[in-house]
């Protein structure tokens, strides 16, 4: 086993659901920030522009990430008036997954693994 394989094996050592969540749903640092924000403020429902302000980021960076979170069923999008409004998915399973992810991030080892997978996914 070469060192890359060993690292990959070590980094894959996490709950399979969370591994899938990190690889396929929260696969960027902006999405990580957004998921954390919506975990802490779960009933937020607002436009991409305002969510970008809450996250302290540029809307051009945040909007595509919000759209991808909607595609991944982490978030929902509703058009209110003519404004696209984003909020956390109403699905209990997804709420639980987000809770588990944010709680797991309290552990440094989990964070290191999550960072590894996000960086690998960005290559």
């Amino acid at each position: 086993m070469n060192s890359d394989d060993f690292t990959a094996k070590l980094m894959n050592d996490m709950d399979p659901k969370l591994l899938d969540f990190v690889r396929n749903k929260v696969n960027s640092f902006i999405k990580w920030d957004l998921v954390r924000f919506f975990h802490e403020n779960p009933n937020t429902a607002d436009s991409a522009e305002n969510i970008a302000k809450y996250a302290g980021r540029n809307v051009s960076a945040v909007k595509p990430e919000l759209e991808e979170l909607v595609e991944a069923d982490v978030m929902e999008k509703h058009v209110v008036g003519e404004i696209p409004v984003y909020r956390l998915s109403n699905q209990q399973d997804m709420h639980r997954l987000v809770d588990n992810f944010v709680n797991a991030c309290e552990d440094r080892h989990f964070r290191v693994k999550a960072v590894y997978h996000i960086i690998r996914g960005m290559r």
Partner: protein
């Protein structure tokens, strides 16, 4: 007449028993005077004392901040949310406005599902960023307030005053006209100490206290104390002793 009690010690007496049902109640004050605390207490007491589920709509502070602030008074907002008796929603005035105008919007749905009776909107000052036209602003606020009443909600609406001390600034204050009651919170400097004063300026269709009362933010929340005695010009922020006026009138005059 039926009243919606705030449960805040001393405030219901000032309001002649409480707010009127399905009324819109403006609370105005400078930063730190206790507007949000008063609003949170109105919601919390509604849930735990009067079994009336509540909704908090915040346009500025993160819900996380409300959970934290409430906890410092011993009010477990997260638990109430998990019980389906409270929801703290962060959104913006533009979204809320369209949401309330539409049929089956988020607020309408949550109100129906939870049986919400009370709402805190913190703060309505944020509506001022939607337009610079005073007439349009008044129309927006009027529409918003009527939508809350349509949903059967008794609301506390906060509004920021930029003046730390003294009289109301001269800018547009159409909210005072469209709201059913108007409660003013002020800092007052008396003998080199800062105290807080409260005055009910308006309560549509009902009698109310006309005097200026002291209030404090205690570890249990806001408590209204006795009226200010022996001072004039409380709402100016720098009151003077009544005896000084007599001295001026009789000795210097």
């Amino acid at each position: 007449m039926e009243r919606v009690k705030t449960g805040i010690p001393g405030l219901d007496d000032m309001l002649g028993g409480g707010y009127l049902p399905q009324s819109a109640n403006l609370v105005e004050g400078a930063p730190g005077t206790g507007k949000s605390t008063l609003g949170m207490q109105f919601i919390y007491n509604g849930i735990v004392q009067y079994n009336e589920p509540g909704l908090i709509i915040t346009f500025e502070e993160f819900p996380q901040q409300y959970y934290h602030d409430a906890e410092s008074f011993g009010w477990d907002f997260k638990k109430l949310e998990s019980q389906g008796r409270l929801k703290v929603i962060m959104t913006s005035p533009e979204v809320t406005r369209h949401d309330l105008e539409s049929v089956g919007g988020m607020i309408e749905t949550v109100t129906a599902e939870m049986g919400v009776r009370r709402i805190l909107v913190d703060s309505l000052s944020q509506f001022e960023r939607l337009t610079t036209d005073p007439m349009e602003l008044r129309s927006l606020q009027y529409g918003f307030i009527n939508a809350l009443k349509r949903e059967g909600l008794t609301s506390v609406l906060t509004r920021e005053s930029l003046m730390l001390f003294g009289q109301q600034e001269d800018n547009e204050n159409s909210l005072a006209f469209v709201a059913d009651s108007y409660l003013l919170l002020r800092y007052v400097e008396i003998e080199s100490a800062i105290r807080k004063a409260m005055l009910v300026l308006k309560l549509r269709g009902s009698d109310h206290a006309k005097d200026i009362r002291q209030f404090e933010i205690t570890p249990r929340g806001l408590e209204v104390k006795s009226r200010f005695e022996g001072h004039e010009g409380i709402m100016s922020g720098s009151p003077r002793r009544m005896s000084d006026y007599f001295e001026e009138a009789f000795l210097k005059g």
